[in-house]
């Protein structure tokens, strides 16, 4: 095209004008202002309205208040009145608003457009989805419901629905709690989590439990930790195989060889008994109950020092400090329990509380009431051994007619062969319901969008409680922006269609949750009289004044210390010379929250690595392998190999390679997909002999360089030291 001078100039002028207009004018949408149709009762446009609801990402029971403006959720804060988190939140609670408005949420029901699992989907409407569900479940001979550890009314509705259609309800959780609970049962004789009174403790002995990070009710424990540090400043001793966040905050950090936590705990008990640090009357009966002083003496520090890797002096110091600074509390979690001898490790550690007689004492271990039956605590998970055999059965052709998976991802987290994804190939009809696509939902015949907890009704009982019964309520703070529905509501819609009117006693989750609250106060029959109380309950976020009897601790432990065996590892020490220690990170946990770019970009506290997986190696080990931070290594285990970059960490033991859990996913949105590697894929399917839980810290591996380097996404920059010796950035004082 020929461009004359005049035309060219006109074009230039036009473009310039265009630029000016674009540059100056406000976007068209910003010059529009809509009036509401109805005036909302308690809010004006542009005003903040705060709603109390449940912490979306917590399974232990925190309550939050959500700031909404014009119907949009903006910010999460802790509910200041709530006894568990007391106005505080953790990093994942803060990111809940981002998961809520994530552009890659499942927006509508979908069916595969081609073959199941090939990644192409077709959107359908809910009516059709419900018809498909009803048609599949109604005549089904067998129905299996797989969920995460549901809590409260949602758990009860799921159980009631499974019973109604004659199905089975299985509970899946990648990082299991069963071993801990079983150890509590053996030593304390109770079926719920006790309250470890860290706030008033003089000494805390934590064996691998990352209680200010990823273990248990971490927000409650963090505040307790803060109070412990005030006043007389209690001491924290952390005994573990890989330094956790909690370990970084400890006064004493002690490396204990993997699986030897139980032996170390009994060794501490032996010192207390042998040196008569505590009066005979306190420990005589409980020591007798676990096998007597003779059994303890087999764990004298000099006998087990080699096994545990902890010197005699250190054990004596820990024992003496624990007794000198009573009240004290001892508990175990994390990798300490994820061993073949995990249950006995846990029991041995909890036994320390009995030796010093600190049950039912402030600063010791206090009993909690059981959750009310109609608002249960999070359901116990089906142990890994059960999942492994279930997966094998599926693969062998023993399949249900319908498999309904909600908010669980066994295809990502079950190690061993065959994998869950392959095993469900023969299941005729798989339903996946979730907010985000995951490894399991991606293989479904029918995919349903689940609401975010900020869009749905629910309730929970805090587990653990603070020694009292604490019930919280979850109310919708915003309407779904997509076509999501709540899991409970879907089941309650299906029930009458399959089994006729009145099949289940509630029509909706709202009704069920409200009925549960009425029952809590013994007001089932009062009807309208409950309206005002109900609003007040929702406004406060829960109820915590109601009296409830606490569980009673058993007088004597039901545990035989001779049962404590040494740990067994997958892979021989000769060719697999590293302990592979997976760990959950504070930001993305076991990976369920990794869709959020905020959480992905938050640095792991100790390494500051973001967005990807890494392998922590000791500096000397790394030098022997000829690798540094950013060099990629292959980690070979019996069950597979993953390649991850190294992070050289001075706190990592020489025979340990530590890799975070939760990344390496193929589904779940632009910020979750294809980041790092899935450590579950190389773990050996070893189990705890006592409970059948996955012994995820019992795999051995070898590490080799693959001569590749990546730019490490760490927040820290390593520079030549300036005059930091003269002027340390952080100051430290003695006591």
């Amino acid at each position: 095209m020929h461009l004359g001078r005049r035309k060219f100039l006109a074009g230039v002028a036009g473009t310039a004008g265009g630029v000016v207009i674009v540059g100056c004018a406000a976007p068209e949408r910003e010059s529009r202002v809509q009036s509401f149709v109805l005036a909302p009762e308690h809010s004006l446009p542009g005003d903040s309205v705060w709603f109390a609801t449940a912490d979306a990402h917590s399974n232990v029971g925190n309550s939050v208040v959500v700031r909404t403006v014009d119907g949009r959720a903006k910010k999460v804060e802790g509910n200041p009145a709530f006894p568990i988190n007391q106005g505080k939140t953790d990093v994942r609670a803060q990111a809940a608003v981002q998961s809520l408005y994530h552009p890659d949420r499942i927006k509508t029901p979908m069916i595969p457009a081609g073959k199941r699992g090939d990644g192409r989907y077709e959107e359908i409407i809910w009516e059709r989805a419900l018809d498909m569900l009803g048609a599949a479940i109604g005549p089904a001979g067998s129905f299996h419901l797989v969920t995460s550890r549901l809590t409260g009314t949602e758990a009860r509705v799921a159980g009631a629905f499974a019973d109604l259609v004659g199905g089975d309800h299985l509970v899946y959780e990648p990082i299991e709690n069963g071993t801990f609970q079983a150890a509590v049962k053996k030593i304390l004789g109770v079926d719920n989590t006790p309250h470890f009174d860290i706030a008033n403790a003089g000494t805390v002995l934590s064996f691998g439990a990352d209680f200010v990070g990823t273990w248990g009710s971490s927000v409650m424990y963090s505040q307790a930790y803060s109070r412990m540090r005030g006043g007389n400043r209690g001491r924290l001793t952390q005994l573990e195989t890989r330094m956790s966040m909690t370990g970084a905050s400890a006064d004493n950090w002690i490396y204990v060889k993997p699986g030897q936590e139980g032996a170390l705990a009994l060794s501490i008990a032996q010192v207390i008994v042998a040196e008569a640090l505590v009066h005979f009357d306190v420990w005589r009966d409980v020591v007798e109950a676990i096998g007597g002083v003779d059994v303890l003496n087999q764990y004298a520090p000099d006998v087990v020092a080699e096994r545990t890797g902890v010197t005699v002096t250190t054990v004596q110091e820990i024992a003496r400090e624990f007794v000198d600074r009573q009240p004290g509390v001892a508990f175990a979690g994390g990798p300490a329990l994820a061993q073949t001898n995990g249950l006995d490790n846990g029991a041995a550690v909890l036994f320390l509380n009995l030796v010093v007689g600190n049950l039912d004492k402030a600063g010791g271990v206090l009993a909690n009431p059981m959750a009310p039956a109609h608002i249960p605590a999070p359901l116990p998970e089906t142990p890994f051994a059960g999942w492994r055999s279930y997966t094998d059965d599926l693969a062998a052709g023993t399949v249900p007619d319908v498999l309904f998976v909600y908010d669980a991802d066994p295809a990502y987290g079950i190690p061993g062969n065959p994998g869950f994804a392959d095993a469900i190939a023969e299941v005729p009809f798989v339903v996946g319901m979730s907010s985000f696509m995951n490894e399991t939902v991606g293989l479904a015949d029918l995919i349903l969008p689940a609401t975010h907890p900020f869009e749905a009704w629910g309730d929970f009982t805090a587990d653990p409680g603070p020694g009292t019964q604490v019930v919280g309520f979850q109310q919708p703070v915003t309407t779904p922006w997509n076509d999501a529905r709540s899991f409970g509501d879907v089941l309650l819609t299906l029930a009458p269609e399959i089994k006729g009117e009145g099949a289940l006693p509630w029509a909706s989750m709202h009704e069920a949750v409200r009925a549960g609250a009425e029952k809590l106060f013994g007001m089932e029959e009062t009807g309208a009289a409950f309206d005002a109380s109900w609003v007040e309950l929702l406004r406060r976020g829960g109820a915590w004044e109601q009296a409830a009897d606490v569980s009673e601790f058993a007088a004597l432990p039901d545990w035989d210390a001779t049962a404590l065996a040494g740990p067994e590892f997958a892979g021989d020490a000769g060719s697999f010379n590293f302990h592979l220690i997976p760990f959950a990170t504070i930001a993305i946990g076991a990976g369920n929250e990794s869709e959020s770019p905020w959480l992905q970009s938050v640095g792991d506290p100790l390494t500051t690595v973001t967005w990807t997986s890494w392998a922590e190696l000791n500096p000397e080990t790394a030098a022997e392998l000829g690798v540094g931070t950013g060099d990629v290594v292959a980690i070979d285990a019996r069950h597979g190999t993953i390649e991850v970059p190294v992070f050289v960490s001075p706190v990592t033991p020489p025979d340990v390679v530590a890799v975070p859990i939760g990344r390496g996913r193929n589904f779940g949105g632009r910020w979750r997909r294809d980041r790092g590697e899935n450590i579950f894929s190389v773990l050996d399917p070893m189990t705890d002999t006592g409970t059948g839980s996955l012994a995820w810290a019992s795999t051995r591996a070898r590490v080799r360089s693959v001569d590749r380097k990546i730019a490490m996404p760490t927040l820290e920059r390593v520079e030549e030291p300036r005059n930091d010796v003269e002027e340390p950035v952080l100051e430290v004082e003695g006591e």
Partner: protein, 204 residues
Amino acid sequence: MGVLRGLLPRLTRRQMALIGIPLTLGGLATAGAVAVLIFLGASGGTIRPAPVQPIAYDHAVHAGDNAIPCEFCHRGVSTGAVATIPSVEQCMYCHAVVGQDLPGVLRLAAKWEAQEPIEWTRVHRLPDHVRFVHVTHIDANIPCETCHGDVETFAVMKQVNALNMGECMGCHRDTTNQPASSASPSGNAVLKSSASLDCAVCHR
């Protein structure tokens, strides 16, 4: 220029003028345009013509003839940052019985019937980097007309002040250290006597 001379081809005076004058003019024009853009950006805008609204709402009738106080409809003005536009429901409180056969009210009623929001066009708009809070100004006894003009005479709502930073600053300086009267129209507390000149009060 002396150094460049050796590098550039030799040009006649006429050639230099031919190249130089357009270049200089072009440069000046560009600089001018940039300056105007910066000014417009910094000054927060100009007085824009009154927009056409989906319903020809007449402030002169409501606020003038019928003397309805501003706050009756703009309810947020004495409690929060935003004065707020009334909801359709609120209009219908009166118009369910008043002026039902007027064309504007018929349109309103249709919206109410359909339960649809009315999409008004904004008359007063501040840039994104400014946070204006109505309640503080109401409590300081600043009459609405200071910024919005004699709205009770406007048949069509229009902008009368540029609402740029100079206007804000002018007022804020004038009221510095002037005691506020003890009666505040919103019935809320009496604001302290001086208006702030701190940038962070509005720019957050």
